[in-house]
Symmetry: C2
Subunit: 191 residues, 2 copies
């Protein structure tokens, strides 16, 4: 563990000094700033504890989880439920299929679509893994009371819901006047 670490409180004091003159939404800044930090910390902890022996990443676990909860489902729906893009899901599900945890089958009525489901081994893994995963969820939030956990979850849901509902329009408004440089990422059109 490296030496002198600045506490979060110290950080916020430094911010206050630096921004003393500016009007700003301090509450919003505190909330948003900590969401990403907490997400990274929790993800790292879970990947390096319960998921590590099974060589699963956070994302591949979430995909298994979605299939466990919802049963057989179409890929676009799994991607949305897991919060990843369809392209990412293609890679993840290929990996999980090669490990025998996930099965892919063609949609009976539409050959463009693909259905994903857990194999029996996948089910077995989740039945064994999920209690351990949940125990770690409990560990990371053990300093909060159940009521605080629910309030936390509720606030986060509110934010997600707001972005799902109004985010796209907001971005359109903000970027209306801009002419954006083409993104670096993404496939190039063939010449």
């Amino acid at each position: 563990m490296p030496g002198p670490r600045r506490s979060i409180t110290e950080t916020e004091q430094a911010i206050r000094q630096r921004l003393g003159g500016l009007t700003l939404q301090r509450e919003a800044m505190a909330a948003v700033g900590n969401i990403h930090r907490a997400a990274a910390a929790v993800r790292s902890h879970l990947e390096n504890s319960v998921l590590r022996p099974h060589e699963l990443t956070w994302t591949s676990f979430v995909v298994l989880w979605v299939l466990w909860i919802w049963g057989e489902a179409e890929t676009w729906s799994v991607a949305e439920e897991a919060g990843i893009s369809k392209g990412t899901l293609t890679g993840i599900s290929r990996t999980l299929e090669s490990r025998g945890l996930v099965a892919r089958s063609p949609h009976p009525e539409d050959r463009r679509r693909v259905l994903l489901s857990l194999t029996p081994e996948g089910e077995k893994l989740m039945e064994e893994l999920f209690p351990a995963f949940n125990a770690e969820e409990a560990f990371v939030s053990a300093s909060l009371s159940p009521e605080e956990c629910l309030r936390l979850a509720d606030s986060l849901r509110t934010i997600v819901g707001r972005l799902e509902e109004h985010g796209e329009q907001r971005r359109r408004e903000l970027l209306a006047g801009e002419d954006l440089a083409p993104r670096r990422s993404g496939r190039r059109p063939r010449p």
Copy 2:
């Protein structure tokens, strides 16, 4: 926008059905499950609104932010403050340096270390960009009252603090008996 989307509440009903027989920490699950979701949503919104015209990712913005708040700092400290690994910071700071936003200078007393700081252009950018960034932080959390924002931030800080304090020991305990396969990622020892 794709068609029938399952609401979060529907999801949680399905979970209850699937896990009806298992004892589990539902509050913890709700909290952890939503942290990652909210973080991804917020990050995506900010990258695709205020950060997009400046071609900054979330992470590179955070690095600029840390340097803006703390001034000149050593790389390990910036990495920790930004919540990324040293290796990632190397790439980020190289990019930011090539764009003239960040300067690197050798430590006066130890030639292994490197000091990072904002260039005047970097400073100028942050003075202009931060208010817009903060306005979007306010937008994403506008459905919450200031008190709810503070409570949210506080709960998240509690989780981060707990993991910083007890996470490593917990992982050691959990993995004590396991013999882990070597990780897929990471540099290979030369033969």
